[in-house]
């Protein structure tokens, strides 16, 4: 067998292995991209781009990392890039979703307890859908950090590098994002299923 044939053979093996990767991890990566980008077409583009990037850099993949972690970080990067290029509308303020306080620094609002443990509530599909919609409704700066930290499980430092800010800014955005998310989901969890 000459060298050209060998190269072609290796390439075919690479592609076959890659198809298995796409089948194994594509669904999970698509879910990540959908959460970050919403638009189905953008999400699919991001997954495709992520696999192409992964294919190009397949020889640099370090065996000590997990393939799923490697692919995950590639798709997160691609999705963030897409968010950056498509950002045009001015971002909504998060202020309306944060807790309000009286002049004496007490909460301005009384918080009724939620009627059931959160894991019970979330076992219902409509509640899970409601929470996903609430995450989607967060202003993008906060939503991205909530997704990367709380949902995708990245560290404060990793998130700071990815969104190009300081770890402290990540902490502030995460905290406000969580507070806003609580405000958005609370009316649905207090009393609705009593």
């Amino acid at each position: 067998m000459n060298e050209a044939a060998l190269t072609a053979g290796l390439r075919a093996v690479d592609e076959q292995v890659f198809e298995t990767l796409v089948r194994t991890y594509g669904g999970r990566l698509l879910a990540v991209a959908r959460r970050m980008l919403h638009e189905e077409e953008d999400a699919r583009d991001a997954v495709q781009e992520a696999f192409i990037n992964a294919f190009r850099s397949r020889h640099t993949f370090k065996g000590d990392a997990q393939i799923s972690t490697w692919l995950h970080s590639i798709v997160v990067n691609v999705a963030l890039m897409k968010l950056r290029t498509r950002r045009r509308k001015p971002e909504e303020s998060i202020q309306d979703f944060l807790p309000r306080f009286l002049p004496d620094e007490h909460h301005a609002e009384h918080f009724p307890s939620w009627t059931e443990p959160v894991d019970v509530a979330l076992s219902r599909k409509e509640t899970a859908d409601m929470v996903r919609k609430a995450i989607e409704a967060l202003p993008e700066t906060y939503r991205t950090v909530v997704l990367l930290r709380d949902i995708e499980g990245l560290s404060t430092e990793e998130t700071a590098t990815l969104v190009d800010t300081t770890p402290n800014a990540v902490k502030i955005r995460l905290h406000r994002g969580r507070l806003a998310l609580r405000t958005l989901i609370a009316p649905h969890l207090a009393g609705a299923h009593a």
Binding site: F18, R23, G27, L30, V47, R56, H59, F101, R178
Partner: protein
């Protein structure tokens, strides 16, 4: 030291759950929460909000990759320059 107010408790919730409350606010934080029912509920809901987000997104990735997306990816890879 004096107890925190509701606003300060709300600002320190993340540190509280990360176990990184500054030493000097630790007692004041707990002192306020012990006497303020509203803050106790709020604190618990802050924690539950994180869990709710995680649970809501947990099963999404279990789905298979749509076949047309697999094909689109493989077609795009076929156009990559030969290594």
């Amino acid at each position: 030291m004096t107890d925190l107010c509701c606003r300060e408790v709300s600002e320190f919730l993340m540190e509280y759950f990360d176990n990184t409350l500054p030493e000097d606010v630790h007692a004041g934080f707990h002192g306020h929460v012990a006497t303020c029912q509203n803050c106790r509920v709020f604190l618990e809901q802050y924690r539950e909000t994180i869990v709710a987000g995680q649970m809501a997104c947990k099963d999404e990735g279990a789905a298979d990759c749509p076949e047309d997306l697999v094909r689109a990816v493989m077609t795009a890879l076929g156009k990559e320059p030969k290594a």
